[in-house]
Amino acid sequence: MSFESDLLAILPRLRRFAASLSRDRADADDLCQAALEKALRARDQWQPGTRLDSWMYRIMRNLWIDEGRSRQRAARTFAPEEAGEHVGHAGDRDVEAHVMLSDVDRAMHALPDEQREAIALVLVEGLSYKDAAEVLGVPMGTLTSRLVRGRGALIELLGEAA
């Protein structure tokens, strides 16, 4: 299998990871596209035999950190005006379903970057602690404490229904 077809095979997971980091789907696909381009340029730096998915997660995460700091700060406010908009439609089941879905997005974006990326790698992508810590370049203890704090915040934001 070629480098490109290996990338194509993991692309669905990379898009999912991008979506869990980004504010919306358009941003997520921009991030994913940028990560692919970067990977193709930097393919000589990938060591065959190591995990391509971890390498790609790292590239994507670094791009996201580089480009997304200010966007992330702007999004950190927990969208009170949006929550207000939906109050009037509380009886509408479709709108309720929509709010249920976007609650997860908004809760994720209320997290500090370092908690969100840890949560995304472990809970969404299903990486082991060891692999996730490697992607993020932090010790395992740091990863687990971010997971504990991030989850506490999510449970609080999402309520008991989490």
Partner: protein
């Protein structure tokens, strides 16, 4: 009071506990309803998050990303799922048309060595481009001035091939004894601005997707089609 902390509960949920510790947590949870509730909360959170993002993994990948990788690979392509077969035909056609106008076809057809001529109101390949389309195999084309990309059967019958050259790249389809050019975009030798577009050109992939019937030819099929004179 128990010695099971939050980190152990989430490690239980994440499948990160060794067998001994896991049993210890299980015992503590069995004796402590509050702890059991906390564990359940973490289990549901993980389930909800992974469930929320799971549908994205099931989506077909965007055509542009796929094209970037496939064009970059420049190897025998795998057949793609029918669901992905080109959906933006209108867009592709419009882009192709606007590119043609921007390129100024008069110039292309004017020079004696130009790769394209206008015959009876249609663009046809000539010179090196025509020779490459006639005879060149994608598997054997080191240093050829024009490189062949994909060869494939067209919807409704006939053969088409994508090509990449110094001045122009594009797609041409067999028409009578010649090749009618379906699309031209700037080729690989036109400076850095175009280089990237050429090496991973989504526009050409879009045209291929619009025209193709089934999967691209593999090396053996390509040779057989060539040997039969693309009839």
């Amino acid at each position: 009071m128990t010695d099971i902390d939050e980190a152990m509960l989430i490690a239980w949920v994440d499948g990160e506990l060794d067998e001994v510790t896991r049993r210890r947590v299980d015992r503590a949870v069995a004796e402590d309803p509050a702890l059991a509730e906390r564990l359940e909360l973490h289990r549901r959170l993980r389930e909800r998050l992974s469930g929320h993002y799971a549908p994205i993994e099931a989506e077909p990948v965007p055509v542009g990303m796929r094209a970037l990788l496939e064009e970059n690979a420049k190897v025998v392509r795998l057949a793609r799922p029918a669901a992905l077969r080109w959906r933006h035909w209108g867009t592709g056609g419009a882009i192709a048309a606007s590119l043609l106008m921007g390129l100024g076809i008069g110039h292309l057809s004017g020079g004696p060595a130009g790769p394209v001529a206008i015959e009876k109101g249609a663009m046809v390949a000539r010179g090196e481009l025509a020779s490459a389309l006639d005879a060149q195999l994608a598997s054997a084309q080191e240093d050829a001035p024009v490189r062949i990309g994909l060869s494939f059967r067209r919807k409704g019958g006939g053969w088409c091939r994508s090509f990449e050259g110094q001045a122009v790249s594009g797609v041409a389809c067999r028409q009578g004894e010649g090749w009618q050019v379906q699309q031209l975009v700037p080729g690989g030798g036109q400076g850095t601005a175009y280089r990237q577009a050429s090496s991973g050109d989504a526009r050409i992939m879009a045209t291929v997707d619009a025209l193709i019937d089934g999967a691209p030819l593999d090396a053996a099929q390509e040779k057989a089609a060539k040997d039969r004179g693309w009839r």
